[in-house]
Amino acid sequence: MSDIPKIRLRNVHKAFGPKTVLNGLDLDVMPGESVVIIGGSGTGKSVTLKCTLGLMEPDSGTIEVDGENVVGLGSRDRERINHKFSMLFQGGALFDSLPVWENVAFGPIADKTITRKQGKELAIEKLAQVGMPAEVADLYPSELSGGMQKRVGLARAIAGDPEIIFFDEPTTGLDPIMADVINDLIVKVTRELGSTGLSITHDMASARKIADRIAMLYQGKIIWQGPADSIDHCDNPYVQQFINGRADGPIEMAVRK
């Protein structure tokens, strides 16, 4: 393993109007590692990923990918950097005007690395990797169940052989068994590709399964991080409250303002 982190966030700040979301976030993700960020809803987990992908600009701080600062890049450089990434979106974000196979092969076809005809073969191959039959290829996303959409989203995320994959709440909204299927698939496909993974979730079962390392986001900062198997005997009261799912503790929910 090299010493340069695949992704390195330093002192990242992001606010929407008066509302501070990220407040000096620091995080390193090493090559080949799978890091999971845990944290409550609305703590800025998705915002962290979107800043890294250039879908949002952080207000200040640096974000490095393979040692290169990517904050404020021009569109051409951004496109080059984004070739390294792919993302499984929270709601799947499949293009509902296109059939499943065009969704899966969208990236490689857009890159012109393959023709549309080869795209269909590639899609069927990637669908098989996530355990879906070839017949699904000609369906439209609206004809699929939530779990199947997630799998198609996963197939799309791995179709371009990315170096880094982001998973935004991959198991939210799924039943526990389908959630476990998705977790297994995430572990399998990232291992097969040898890619670096950065996931965000508030599902502890999922975090334990896919993480090498877990980091907890609270009030815009990483307040704890460590190997996945050390999380149960860490003495951080915030982490303890979160992983045990207790309503009372140091984390205060903003139920009233």
Partner: protein
């Protein structure tokens, strides 16, 4: 002096939205002339805008032509100037009613559905997903729609002109009892190239306005289903007002000496 505060607030807000719209327009135009282009997406939009709007445009213009003939007959018959009906019908249709009616009908049909489609894609993160799949959403979503609007509206209006004049002819000949060949002859006599050309230029401008407003409000919508609904309304209202406003300006430009 407290009452100045809300006024200042609204003035700033107004210039803020005008600035954003101008920026959006310039970005869209600059992407219109830079590759890559998406011919499949352009073709798809051309069919959606041109072909599927034909029935609505045909129906509105045929009735407009018919009522013009009927109404001008009531006006002119007193001065026994029935021959002027052909003149009124062909001038009104080609210069004003063809482009304006087609523009407003297509606004209702296309402007609304574009805003709803792009708005849904925005709130379900499909727009973000495009970026991660190395596709510029401006080039893939906005440019094809605008190009299709600019090219298809003149064709629609040309067809609408023909149908509208035909509507006037039907009423004049079969209901009011004019001589068919005289009517056709006076139609040809009164019509000038400039009438038709000005109408087609108007149509191209309206096509740009409709698609630009649909794309702008959809692309920048936020806040779930409610935001998409608002985007749809805003797209239709702003495009309709702009069409009537530009119609006046263009008429002034073409015919005011």
């Amino acid at each position: 002096m407290n009452f100045l505060q809300p006024i200042g607030h609204y003035v700033l807000k107004f210039f803020g939205s005008v600035g954003r719209l101008v920026l959006f327009t310039l970005t869209a135009l600059s992407h219109c002339i830079r590759p890559p282009f998406y011919p499949r997406a352009i073709l798809r939009q051309m069919i959606e805008i041109g072909y599927f709007s034909l029935p609505v445009v045909g129906l509105t213009t045929v009735f407009a032509g018919m009522v013009l003939a009927l109404q001008s007959y009531t006006g002119f018959s007193r001065f026994s100037a029935e021959g002027a009906i052909a003149n009124v019908v062909v001038l009104s249709i080609t210069r004003e009613l063809g482009p304006v009616l087609a523009g407003l009908m297509v606004t209702g049909r296309i402007g609304a559905s574009m805003a709803a489609e792009l708005g849904t894609m925005r709130v379900t993160e499909q727009v973000d997903a495009l970026t991660t799949l190395s596709t510029n959403p401006f080039k893939y979503l906005v440019v094809p729609r605008i190009l299709a609007g600019i090219t298809m509206l003149p064709i629609l209006v040309l067809i609408g002109d023909i149908i509208g004049v035909l509507g006037g002819y039907l009423v004049a000949v079969y209901q009011l009892g004019f001589n068919a060949s005289n009517y056709i002859q006076s139609t040809w006599e009164f019509m000038e190239n400039m009438d038709v050309v000005s109408g087609l230029v108007k149509a191209a401008v309206f096509g740009f306005i409709i698609t630009l407003m649909g794309c702008y409000h959809g692309y920048t919508s936020k806040g779930g289903a409610q935001g998409v609904g608002k985007a749809t309304t805003d797209a239709v209202v702003s495009a309709s007002i702009l069409i009537l406003c530009f119609n006046y300006l263009l008429t002034m430009m073409f015919f005011d000496k």
